[in-house]
Point group: C2
Chain length 482, copies 2
C-alpha cells in the first residue's frame, strides 16, 4: 500500500531496497484512529487532540501524506483532507517546500507544564569561578577534535557500531600504550588497559568487587571520591602529608593506598622519590596495591619530569587517567592501566559488553592521540595555564605579598597559604565578591590528625581567558589584610 | 627559554598568547636526565633507553628540538646533537617535513609483550549471527550523524565542555520530549527526563537507591537484566505470560513491575489494552510503579500503533528507552522519563556532575532528532527490517512449513515455535552450521512456573545486508525435520 504513493522521481539513490518512506521527510507520529465517523474524521480528531495536548508542539513538522497514509493504512487523500481541514481550522500551517507544520499560535493547553523552549542551562551562580577541577571550557579544540571524529567515523569498521568490547576499543588502547609510555613513563601493553568513563568510574569498577577496604588515602583529597568509596562500603584511612608528600611509612594493615604522586591534590607537591620507592616496597612486602590518580600529570611547568609511579612496578600499581583535565570533562573518557592479575576481574565488573564509553568517542580519541593533536593541545594549554599561574603569582606579589602560594610547579590549581584562623572569613569574603572558590578545609579527611593549615585552593584554569583578569582582582580583594 | 627558539614565521594565527610550543609538532616525552657526563650524554642515554624498552615505539614522532629543549631546560643544540648521534647509531630516522621519528627497525626489547599493532578486535566466532539484540551495524547513518556532530560542535556553548548537568543536556531533553510525545505517545516535559548510558544504567540508577525489590518481571526476559538486579540485591518474581502478554492480575505484594509492553521480549506480543489498564490500576491502588522497557518501540510493522503505557499515567510509569536498537549500541545513550517524585532521587544517584554520557554525543543526538534525521533513519530501517522479516517468513514457509513463527508484528527478532523437546538439538544443529542464535530457554526466569515452550529466538537485524541470505539458509538447515 505504501508503495502506491511513492514518487518515482525520489526513488533514485544507492539503496537497492524499496525504502519508500525513507526518501521523504519522515516524521514518526503515534496516532490512534478510533471513535465514531470515518477514518478521515478519526484522523482529524487524533491530530487535533495531539496538538491541543502539546504532544505535537508548535512548529513541529508533520509527516508527508504518503508516509502517514502508509503508517496508518489509509488512503493518501484521507491524510491530505485531514491536513487541509486542520489548516482551515488554524491548527496547521502548510509551508511551501518544508511540509506541513503545527501552527505557531496553536498553543498547547499545558504549555506551563513543559519546560521553556531552548532555555539556557541552569544558571551556575557566581560571577567569577576559581573552583578547582575544570579546564578552560572555552579552549576545547573543536576543529581538531571534529577532524579526528570525521576520520574515526569514516575509518570505523562496521563492527564498531555493534556491541562493544568492555576493555575498550583496541585502537585507543594501542594509542594510549604508546602515549602513556612516552609522556608519563607508564609501562604497559594494550591488553592491560581498560577504558572507562573517568576516575570515578574506575573507583566504582575496583571497589568493592576487585579490591576491598580499608584503603589508605591522603589526608587531603576530593570529598567526592571519599563519598563514593564510603557508598561502596570502603573505609578510608588518612595518611598525613608533609613537604615530601604522603607519609607512606605510616601504612599499616591496609591492602591498598590511593595517591596523587605527580601533584598531590590539592596541596600541590610531588611525591618524593624516596617515598615513591617506599610505597612500592610496601606493596611488594605486603601484597598491597597502589592506586595512582594521575589526574593532571600532563601539566608540569618546571623542568623536572615527574613520571608515573606505575613505571616502578607495573604489577603493583593501578594507574588511572582521563581526558577530564587535559581536554574536557564533557567527553567522559578515562583509562585504567592494570596489573595483569586484575584485568579479568575488572572486565567482569564492567560486564559482557561495553555499557559506558561510546565507541565513536574512543576511536576519535585514538585518532586525536595518534595524529599528534593531543600533544599539540596539551602543549598549547600548558603554555596558557603557565601564563595564568604566572599572572596569579604576580598579582599576589603586587597586592597580597603576605600570602604564600604553593603547589605551583604543576597542575591547574594553586594553594594560597593564609594566616591561621583566616580561611573561613576569606571564603566568605570571596563569596561577597561574587567569587567561587574552596578553602582547604573542604578537602580534609574527617579523620585526619595532621595539622590543619588555613588556605585557599585556586583553580586558575576554570575561567575563560577573558574572564581571568577580573577573577584575579576579585581574589585579591577577598584576601585577608596583612 | 622556550621563546628564544620560536620561529616568528609560525607565530601568526588568532592566539594572542606566547604559545611557543603549540605551533610545532609537539610530542610529549617523559625523560629523566641523570647519570654521569653532561646533559647531552644524559639525553642520549635516556632516549636510547626509551627506544630500547619500547616506551618510544618504532615510527613514533619525536618532539621538535626547540620543544624538547624548552621542556628539559637544555640548549636547542644539545637536543639537535643528541638526535644526530642517535640517528647515526640507527635509532632515529630524520624525515624531511615530518620531523624525527624512531627508526622502524629499532625493535623494542619487549616487543612480545606489547599487543599486536592494529590487530583486529577479538574474533567473534560464528560465521552466521542471528542472535537478538543488535541492529544491523553496517547501516549506521555515518554521513547524517557526522553532519549532526559537526553542527552540534559548532553551536555548542563553551559551558558544554565543562562539567555536565547530571540530568543531561537540556537540548536533548527538549528534543526527546517532543519526539517521544509524537512517536511513542509519552507525556512528559524536559524536567522529568534524565539521560543515561542505556537501559542497564537506568536499572543501576533505580535499584536499590530509588526503588527496592521485590520486583515483578516477565517470565521471559534478558538474563543480563536479572543478573544486574540480583547483583543490586533485588529479588525478581516472575509473572506468567499468555497471548495477551504478562498476567498482571497476578501481581501481589511487589512494589514495582518491569514490563516490555510494546513488544514482549522475547516472545513478541504487545501487552493487551485491558492488561495495560489493569497494571495502571494496580499501580494506583498499591502505590506501585511500572518500569516500561521500550527497547524497540519504533519498529512496528503492522498498522496498529502501540503507544507507551506511560501515556496512561505519567506519575505511575518510568519509561526507559535508548538508541541501542534504533541507531547503535556503540553510542551509549539512553533516557528515563520519570514520575515527578523520583526525579530528585535519580539525579542524586547519578551524582553531582554528569559522569557518564558525553555532552557532545547528547548535543549530536538532539540535533539528529530535531533535524529529522532520526525519523528518516528509523523509517529506513523499519522498511529494511520489515523486508528481512518477510524473507524469514517466506524462507520458513518454503523450507520448514511445520515451524510456526510468532512475534513478527514488530521489533528486530522473531520466535520460531518448535515441537516439544526439540529446542536444544536445534540450537546444537545451528552451532554445527556455524550459526549463532539462542533458544527460548536462555531467557526463562529460573523460578518461572508457566509452561516452557520450545523455540528459537531469531534476531534478523543482526547480520549485514549481504550476509542475511546465507544466515537464513543456515537457519533452515538447522531446523528439526517435520
Amino acid at each position: 500500500m505504501a508503495d502506491s504513493w511513492v514518487n518515482p522521481a525520489k526513488r533514485t539513490g544507492t539503496d537497492t531496497e524499496a525504502e519508500a518512506g525513507a526518501t521523504g521527510i519522515g516524521a514518526d507520529l503515534h496516532l490512534e484512529l478510533s471513535g465514531p465517523g470515518g477514518r478521515r474524521a478519526a484522523l482529524i480528531r487524533a491530530l487535533r487532540e495531539a496538538i491541543r495536548s502539546g504532544r505535537l508542539a508548535p512548529g513541529a513538522r508533520l509527516p508527508p501524506y504518503r508516509s502517514l497514509a502508509a503508517d496508518l493504512g489509509v488512503a493518501r487523500n484521507t491524510v491530505a483532507d485531514a491536513y487541509a481541514e486542520l489548516a482551515a481550522e488554524g491548527w496547521l500551517t502548510p509551508r511551501q517546500g518544508s511540509g506541513t507544520r503545527v501552527a505557531e499560535r496553536a498553543e498547547p493547553l499545558k504549555a506551563r507544564t513543559r519546560g521553556p523552549k531552548k532555555a539556557p542551562p541552569r544558571a551556575r551562580g557566581p560571577r567569577h569561578d576559581l573552583r578547582q577541577g575544570t579546564p578552560d571550557a572555552s579552549s576545547f579544540p573543536r576543529a581538531a577534535w571534529l577532524a579526528s571524529y570525521r576520520r574515526a567515523l569514516q575509518r570505523a569498521p562496521s563492527e564498531a557500531f555493534g556491541p562493544g568490547d568492555p576493555a575498550g576499543r583496541i585502537e585507543l588502547r594501542e594509542a594510549l600504550t604508546e602515549y602513556l609510555a612516552r609522556a608519563r613513563g607508564v609501562r604497559t601493553k594494550p591488553g592491560r588497559i581498560v577504558i572507562c568513563s573517568g576516575f570515578a568510574h574506575a573507583l566504582r569498577l575496583l571497589f568493592p568487587t576487585v579490591l576491598r577496604g580499608p584503603l589508605a588515602v591522603e589526608s587531603y583529597g576530593l570529598p567526592f571520591h571519599r563519598g563514593l568509596l564510603a557508598a561502596a562500603g570502603v573505609r578510608t584511612v588518612p595518611l598525613a602529608l608533609d613537604e615530601d608528600g604522603a607519609q607512606v611509612g605510616d601504612l599499616g594493615g591496609e591492602r591498598a593506598v590511593l595517591l596523587t604522586p605527580a601533584h598531590q591534590f590539592p596541596t600541590g607537591g610531588p611525591l618524593h622519590p624516596s617515598r615513591r620507592a617506599a610505597v612500592i616496597d610496601w606493596a611488594r612486602a605486603r601484597g598491597g596495591v597502589v592506586l595512582e590518580d594521575d589526574y593532571d600529570g600532563e601539566f608540569r611547568y618546571d623542568r623536572k619530569p615527574v613520571g608515573a609511579v606505575q613505571g616502578l612496578d607495573p604489577e603493583r600499581v593501578v594507574h588511572i587517567g582521563s581526558v577530564s583535565k587535559s581536554l574536557s570533562p564533557a567527553l567522559r573518557l578515562g583509562w585504567m592501566v592494570l596489573p595483569e592479575r586484575y584485568v579479568d576481574e575488572v572486565l567482569a565488573a564492567k560486564g559482557e559488553r561495553e555499557a559506558w564509553a561510546s565507541a565513536l568517542d574512543q576511536l576519535t580519541l585514538a585518532d586525536f592521540v595518534e595524529s599528534g593533536s593531543y600533544d599539540r593541545h596539551v602543549r598549547r594549554m600548558r603554555q596558557r595555564y603557565r601564563r595564568r599561574r604566572d599572572r596569579l603569582v604576580e598579582a599576589l606579589a603586587a597586592h597580597a605579598p603576605h600570602v604564600g602560594v604553593t603547589g605551583i610547579a604543576a597542575g591547574l590549581h594553586a594553594v594560597l597559604r593564609l594566616p591561621p584562623g583566616s580561611e573561613q572569613s576569606a571564603v566568605k569574603a570571596a563569596v561577597s565578591q561574587g567569587l567561587a572558590l574552596d578553602g582547604l578545609a573542604e578537602f580534609r579527611h574527617p579523620e585526619a590528625t595532621m595539622a590543619a593549615p588555613d588556605g585557599l585552593v585556586v583553580g586558575y584554569a576554570t575561567p575563560s581567558e577573558h574572564a581571568y583578569g577580573a577573577a584575579l582582582e576579585a581574589l585579591c580583594a577577598a584576601l585577608p589584610p596583612p
